[in-house]
Subunit: 350 residues, 2 copies
């Protein structure tokens, strides 16, 4: 059954809080019918979310009668379902729609939702629910499969978007590349992946390794990073994915003017040079793991400021810097593809 | 009710696999009546485990009729209950004993065990079971509370023992110190702590921070480390505890002749200088976090070899090295106490 999705962002229709909704619209827009936010009814979705030119905000599910899936479009820290959304979720279930959620708080564990879903024979899909108990063993990585990993200086700076863009750019060139999602939004888009922040701590690297082993028939794996190696709340998830995916190279993602740590605004983010150094050292314990490019998110600055920032960072780090939204992805894809070809050649030359 | 413990190590009575049993005997020996291993019946426990001079191996629970608690004394990777132990656990429940387990595989989730326990009204205590959903926020750490953290070059090299010995040594000097367990064995010994490797990945640092905040009325917190920052399977847990506890100083624990990574014997452990550098860099992102001493586990070498190794490492790292079993703990406690006093003085001098 094809998904016909209504995205729920009620009262939270901004690109940051509704990151999940935005990314589903960006990469699976053909499956999306509308976005529910009664406070924005009738407006184009793009006016609030920056994506979804052809979509409108609606105030009620009755305005999208063909929809068969309600997708919860936000991922707040802590992951609770806002109380005011309960009637909308229940209405969707009553209408026979499946409900997809990436929250930590599982909708399928909620008795009221679960009972209603069972009566209506619809599915409650908790993307973060998992039962991973694999331990990373570093066995049998395919020698010729190139693994590239996106890391960041903070949460929500564009690691997933960068990963998808690199993958799609490589595919456009005929390279057999696969995006490996490690978070709820990527999983909703790609249909594979594991929610690494929801895995039991002992098994994060194991879950990442399992994902790599399952997909390494592809020639390139682009592994989505999470959080940041210096984020005091989430660095464990970041490192688990870095060590579990054992990448050959990194792309460093950052947002211009993002100075303080998400959720811990009393703390400053260390400079990019430090973020690069720590990622290269921690990723490079057992094989070289250089940062080969920077993916810059310039949404908070003007085109002119972005250009200036780009030159500054290129000078400071000695690396190519690319803003995939403003410049397109080709500069980034060039760097990754060339590095991979050199890497392959070096291997063949032995 | 006082615990009168029989420890189960059936078929696995060696110090490595039965680490949990050994540590409970070492630090809660007054509560232990006997150790069950029918393959060693009648022998002194110390002949196999190196601790428990006054204890004997027994082959059946009937040989320790006063016991009220069966404690599972091993912690295998993967954490499954060996099939051959099921009858012993069931017999304990039938006799009205509580059962304490640190395995990943929860005994309280096992229908046969749970039904029997419910009939007999005994408790099945899964030390790793938890429901942590705290996110680390770095709020309100008490300024004058000194936090010291044990890190290691691998799993099972003596981080817990080192933490307990430092704590007890400080207490002997009248310092208000508290050991903070982060793993199942420490929790069984100390009665507080959280099983960080079993916490959902997003909440490891939050669980560690919660433990610190709950105990920071003490003047010194000695936080047990887990795994190793370079261990490809478990480094996420290691870093989550390092960032969640935000320590002022580290003690680096290692075992002489341990060259390969536990569970990944095809991989070599990087040199101590590298382990030290990575821990200091990752622990020191937001405040200095020096390694101030080395705790050496010399169980595999002679006294003479241990002395030579100690001199070599002292020279190489420029740090005091102490083998708490051979030398006693005072050298280590001296270093920690002096560093803490200097740290306090520096703070007071402002």
């Amino acid at each position: 059954m094809d998904r016909k999705i209504v995205i729920l962002t009620e009262g939270h229709s901004n690109p940051h809080t509704a990151k999940t909704g935005c990314c589903v619209i960006r990469y699976r827009g053909d499956e999306v019918l509308a976005v529910i936010d009664s406070t924005q009814e009738g407006k184009p979705v793009s006016s609030c979310l920056g994506v979804g030119e052809d979509l409108l905000f609606i105030s009620s599910l009755s305005q999208a009668p063909q929809a068969n899936t309600l997708l919860i479009g936000i991922a707040p820290p802590g992951g609770k379902v806002p109380e005011s959304w309960r009637p909308i979720i229940l209405e969707a279930i009553e209408k026979g729609m499946n409900v997809v959620s990436g929250l930590h708080d599982f909708i399928s564990d909620d008795t009221e939702f679960a009972d209603a879903a069972s009566q209506q024979e619809v599915e409650l899909i908790d993307v973060r629910k998992n039962n991973m108990t694999e331990i990373a063993r570093r066995p049998g990585f395919r020698e010729d499969c190139f693994r590239i990993h996106t890391v960041g200086h903070d949460c929500s700076v564009g690691k997933m978007v960068t990963s998808v863009e690199i993958t799609n750019g490589l595919k456009d060139r005929g390279v057999d590349a696969q995006f490996l999602p490690t978070g709820q939004t990527g999983i909703m888009i790609e249909g594979i992946g594991y929610p690494m922040d929801r895995v039991i701590a002992d098994f994060i690297s194991g879950a990442t390794e399992k994902l790599v082993l399952e997909q390494q028939h592809h020639d390139v794996l682009v592994i989505e990073g999470q959080g940041s190696i210096v984020h005091p709340s989430y660095s464990a998830v970041t490192l688990g994915i870095l060590h579990g995916s054992f990448p050959h190279a990194l792309v460093l993602c950052y947002e211009v003017l993002r100075d303080t740590i998400t959720g811990l605004e009393h703390m400053n983010i260390p400079p990019l040079t430090k973020i690069r150094e720590l990622n290269e050292m921690m990723g490079g314990v057992f094989q070289p793991c250089p940062v080969i490019a920077v993916s810059m998110n310039g949404r908070r600055v003007s085109a002119e400021e972005a250009e200036e920032e780009k030159r500054r960072v290129e000078g400071e780090l000695g690396l190519p810097v690319c803003d995939v939204f403003r410049d397109g992805r080709e500069k980034l894809v060039d760097v990754v593809d060339q590095f991979r070809l050199d890497w392959l050649k070096k291997k063949q030359d032995g």
